[in-house]
Structures are given as C-alpha cells and as structure tokens.
C-alpha cells in the first residue's frame, strides 16, 4: 500500500523540522511549506491524506489554505496547529471539518497518536465512501442496461453522469454513422437552440480529439468523455461523447469522479449498442410476425379457395342432375294447369307455389354454376369504374324503392384491371345486393375506387393494387358470423331469400383474378367490403 502523505504548513522552521523528523520515523511521506501559497502549489501536485497547518501565517491565512485544498481534495484530513487559539478559530475549524485543534506548544507523542487516529478514521471513511459510490454506480449501470428505448436511455446515461460528478450541465452526443457528425441526443442545462443547431463535424473542435483519440479531453471545468464500448463488437470505435461541465459546488472534478464517469461511459456505450441491437431484433421479430400473419392469411384464403373450387367442380354435375328433373316438374305442372284445371283460381295458386319452389331450387343451382364459371375466365382490359357503374345500374331501381342513396367516389383517370367482365360484374352485383338487403328502409351505399400503390408482394416483385370499397350503412354483421360469411351456403336470410353463395362466389372470383376480398363490419353501423385487384399495367 502507498505511504500516507502529510503536508506540514508552518512558518516556523523549527516546527516543520520537528514534525518532519517524527513523521518520517513513523513511516509517513512528508512535505513541508512555509507559507500558504507554497502549500497550495504542493497540494495541487500531490493529493495529501493529511494537512497539518498553522493558522496565523504571512501571505495566506491557514484557514484559506484549508478551504482551497479541500475543494480539489475533499477527502483530505485536517489538523490545526495554533499558537493563538480563540473561540472563533476553534468554531471555524469544527465547521470546516478539522479532525483536531492542537495548541502550541504541543507534545509530539500526543500529536503522533492524534495523527494515527485521524488517518485511521480517514481510511475507513474513504472505504465507506467508495463502497457507497460503487453501489450507486452499480445501481446506475443496472438501470442503464435495462433500458432498451433509445431516448430514455440517452437521458438516463446523461443524468447518471451528472449525478456521479455532481455537475449541472451536460450533453450526450452520438456520431451519425453516415455523416460522421456528432449530434446531440440528450442535454441538461443547455439552451434548446444550441442543442438543435449543434452538429459538430468530426474534423473540428476538441470533441474531435476526444472521440478519435479515445482519450479524455480535459479543460479544468469540462469533461469530454468518449463513448467507447467495451464489448468486442465495436472494435474500440467511439460511438459518441459525453460532455459534463459546471459542478454544483464550484470545485473541479476529482480524479475519482473522472474515473467513475469514464467507466460509466464504457457501460453506457455498451448499453447504447445493445439497445440498437434490441431495436433491430424487435424490428426483425415484428417483420417475422407480419410474415406469419400473411402466411396464415394466405393459407386461409387458399383453404377457402380450395373449398370453393370443389363446390365449382361439383356444380356442373349437380346442375345437370337437378335442373333436368326441375324442367320436367315445371313442364308437368304447366301441363296440368293448362289442360286439366284450366281457369281454376285455386289450382293457379297451387301451381304458383310449385313454380316458386322450382325457382328456389333453380337459383341455388344457378349460383353453384357460377363457381365453375369462375375457373374459366376470359380476361381482358376492363374499366373498373364503368364496371361498377354497370353493376350499380342493375340495382338502381331497387335502391330507389328502399331509399338508398348511391354515392360514388372514383378517381378522375380511368382505372383498368385485367378481368373477366361478366364474372367481375357479378361480384359487385352480389355485394350491392347484400348491402341493399341490409338496408331495407333507408341508407347509403358508398362505392369508392382508390389506387394505393405497391401494397402487396407477389413472388418478390411489387405490384400496384386497386382498392374498391363497397360500404353500406346497414345492420352490420355480428362478430360470430363474420368468419362464416365467405363459406358456401352460409346465409342469415329467410329460406328462399338467400342461397349463401354470393360471397363465396365473390371470393373465388377475386382469388382467380389474383385479388382478394375482406370485410369490416359494426353491428347497427354498417359493413364495408374491401376488394383488391392488381392494376393493369
């Protein structure tokens, strides 16, 4: 262990010699000063453990020397030696934290005992301070490494550095990897405008040296500490710097504070690096989540399409097997009505009912047949706005009857898609019909086309998609029904009113056009069907 260092300040040479001799014998390192100025000079070079000083001296009063030395070396112990003790000086000595107040002439042995006690006390006190400092420091590092968001992290690092060094002002700057300039990321006690406009080019300024040389650039009242990560990833390059100035008490930074803040800077750099990695990871995870969601979505669409295609397959055979007997029944009923029960009102009614039922069965077959049609598309360039209009014309009179206003919001330019006109018109006709069914008394049917650019990846290359929205202000769809509406034969309408095939057909048709259909709905507020189609080049 280092020898403990004592500075003896007294204008009387005899006292200096007496003390020096005794102290050297005890194993201390001793220096002397005959006046206050010399004492201060020496205290600047060496950090003494103990200062033994006379009070009444020429040039500088002992009390002044004490105060000044304490400023740079707060752990220094003091013993006051005086030939003119007064109550005032005694009180002042206590206030300043002197260990003892000894009157001349003094007993050397007693003095040595006092010195020993004093240094012993100091040793424990320093240990204690160091320990508690380390604990705060450990706590600070723990806090820093637990923050993963960059902005709070920057602020916390700066606040920690300020609290460790007991300083008022400071900033944290990071090097922009592209521009190689230092940007302020966090600041305390600095003018907002200065912060905003501060962008230090790395070829100027003292911060330059600090960053590039990885050394502390020091002015007496400012600390510029490079943020160099201690992890192996960073290869010792500085990420930026930590600038601290203005101690609360106007002392300069102690060696210990410098060391601590330097170590803190190392930890902070690691934390910043980690936070960056964490964000990157987070982004990757988010990206992955999106991909998984997309996959699920695609899978669902595929399953749906599979189901529908199977229906389409069956439809052809079913149509033949059922519509032929329907044709026979219809022929038979008409024959009965026209020959056997001619002009009989009662039988007219019966025949009417039978015909209705034939119609009902036939409608299902007709809808089913559309599935098989959807697999053999005749594609050509189609003006989407025109197609939506044509489909709207088919429901216009019905809309008028039920007080439904049709509102259109199409872009000025023509929007073209590659589509089978007949089949695609069917899709929108189905959507409009459903909307009207949901608004029996009154409402608004809003049709809109929008070009929202590259929003779907297709085999790695982006495609432009057109979005058509068919929005109604009808009764809405209940949550538990929402997942079923695209299933074949799912209907909430009265028997004979709905086949439950309209949306399934729409789904299949859009799938076959490399598009898709989605729904948003709120009960009692309305439903919006969102159709996306690839825009024709």
């Amino acid at each position: 262990m280092d020898k403990q260092k004592i500075l003896v300040v007294d204008d009387e040479a005899i006292i200096r010699q007496l003390l020096t001799r005794s102290l050297l014998k005890e194993g201390y390192e001793v220096e002397t000063a005959e006046d206050g100025n010399i004492a201060l000079e020496k205290a600047k070079k060496t950090s003494f453990n103990l200062l033994i000083t006379d009070l009444k001296m020429p040039k500088k009063d002992g009390m002044e020397v004490l105060k000044e030395v304490k400023r740079t070396n707060p752990y220094v112990e003091l013993i006051i030696l005086t030939g003119y003790p007064t109550i005032e000086t005694a009180v002042e000595a206590v206030r300043i934290g002197a260990f003892d107040f000894i009157c001349k002439p003094f007993d050397v042995q007693a003095m040595l005992t006092t010195i020993k006690q004093c240094l012993e006390k100091q040793k424990y006190q320093i240990k204690h301070i160091e320990l508690s400092e380390l604990m705060t420091f450990a706590e600070i590092t723990r806090l820093i490494t637990s923050v993963f968001e960059l902005e709070p992290l920057f602020n916390r690092i700066l606040d920690s550095a300020l609290s460790i060094t007991k300083a008022k002002r400071g900033s944290l700057m990071l090097i922009d990897p592209k521009t190689r300039a230092l940007n302020v990321k966090a600041a305390r006690g600095l003018d907002k405008n200065i912060i905003r406009n501060t962008e230090i080019n790395l070829n100027e300024d003292i911060s330059d040296k600090a960053v590039q040389g990885k050394e502390q650039a020091l002015t007496s009242s400012t600390l510029n500490i490079p943020l160099v990560s201690i992890s192996s990833r960073s290869k010792g390059n500085a990420l930026g710097m930590l600038n601290i100035s203005d101690k609360v008490s106007e002392e300069s930074f102690t060696e210990r504070e410098k060391t601590l803040v330097f170590v803190l800077a190392g930890q902070a750099a690691v934390a910043i690096e980690n936070a960056g990695l964490y964000l990157q990871l987070q982004e990757n995870i988010d990206g992955l989540r999106k991909v998984i969601a997309q996959l699920n979505d695609t899978q669902n669409q595929l399953i749906q399409t599979e189901k529908l295609a199977a229906v389409g397959h069956l439809a052809f055979g079913i149509a033949h097997e059922i519509r032929n007997p329907l044709g026979i029944i219809l022929g038979g009923v008409e024959l009965l009505n026209n020959t056997l029960c001619k002009n009989d009102n009662a039988s007219d009614e019966v025949v009417g009912k039978i015909k209705n039922s034939i119609d009902r069965a036939n409608n299902i077959i007709v809808d089913l047949l559309k599935f098989s049609r959807a697999s053999k598309l005749e594609l050509k360039l189609v003006d989407l706005g025109k197609l939506l209009d044509e489909a709207a014309a088919l429901v216009a009179s019905r809309a008028r009857l039920s007080n439904v206003e049709i509102e259109k919001n199409f872009p000025k330019e023509n929007v073209r898609v590659n589509a089978d006109e007949t089949v695609l018109r069917q899709v929108f006709f189905n959507l409009y019909t459903n909307a009207l069914d949901a608004m029996p008394k009154e409402g608004r049917l809003k049709l809109s086309i929008s070009l929202n650019g590259k929003n779907k990846e297709n085999n790695g290359k982006k495609e432009n998609f057109v979005t058509v929205e068919v929005a109604d202000t009808g009764k809405g769809i209940r949550e538990e029904e929402l997942s079923n509406i695209f299933n074949p034969f799912f209907t909430t309408k009265e028997p004979g009113k709905g086949t439950g095939l309209g949306l399934s057909i729409a789904h299949l048709i859009l799938e076959r056009h490399n598009g898709r259909i989605d729904v948003k709905s709120k009960v009692n507020e309305g439903t919006t069907f969102v159709v996306k189609l690839p825009q024709a080049a």
């Binding site: 026979i328 038979g332 008409e334 034939i358 077959i365 007709v366 007949t422 069917q426």
Partner: protein, 131 residues
C-alpha cells in the same frame, strides 16, 4: 293444322319430351315430334324436315353438338334453325335473357317456362323468315 310450325325435340329425358310436346301443342301453334337419342333425332329430322329443332346438349352416346354437326353437313336440312337446351348455362350469365348466343348458336337454360319458350321459338323463327 295448316300454319302450325313443326318442332323437333331431341332430348334423352323421356318425361321432359312428353310434357314439352303436350305443352307446345296445347298452344295450338306447333306440331311436335320428339326423339330420345341423337340418332333417332337425325333420322326424324330428315323425314319430317321441321321448322325448328330444340336440341339437348348433354346426352349419352351422341351429344347435342355432335348431332348439330351432322345436321349442318346435311344439305337438305342444314338451314333449319336450332336452339340448344342446357341445364348448365345460367340465365344470369346470359344477362337475364332466356336465350343466349354462344359461338353463333342459341342456348336456352332449363328449366324454362312454356310462355318464355314459345316467345323464344317465335323470335328465332321470325329472324329466320326475315333472312
């Protein structure tokens, strides 16, 4: 009987043919012959030289289009108008009309009400007469 148009129905559904014949003849405008297979239909066609043929598309052995092809090649009967009857073309595809031209040929979707069928037959006959 004079003035009545001769209609030939070729369809493998025996009951369908039966009711169709009765219903069409009940209108007093037509005389109807029926055949249950393509071969019988062709033979009857050559024999009777009808004014119009109603031809089912899906039949076992010889299909409707096969029958049509043979009739087209037969100079004596190749100008008789022909309407296909089908259970697998939908009215909606036809745009709501009961008849549709596909590849230059007329189609009617089954089932069809007799009233509509009569209208369609008369329309085709008028078009033929106008040529």
């Amino acid at each position: 009987m004079i003035g009545r148009k001769k209609i030939l129905v070729i369809d493998d559904e025996e009951d369908f043919c039966f009711f169709l014949k009765k219903n069409l003849e009940n209108t007093g405008e037509f005389i109807v012959f029926t055949a249950g297979t393509g071969e019988d239909g062709i033979r009857l066609c050559r024999l009777e030289k009808p004014d119009l043929i109603l031809l089912d598309v899906m039949m076992p052995k010889m299909s409707g289009p096969d029958v049509a092809e043979i009739l087209r090649e037969d100079t004596g009967i190749n100008n008789i108008p022909l309407i296909f009857l089908t259970a697998v073309v939908t009215k909606e595809e036809i745009g709501g009309a009961p008849i549709r031209e596909i590849g230059g040929q007329n189609y009617i979707a089954k089932p069809i009400e007799i009233e509509n069928l009569v209208k369609t037959i008369n329309k085709v006959l008028q078009e033929k007469a106008a040529l």
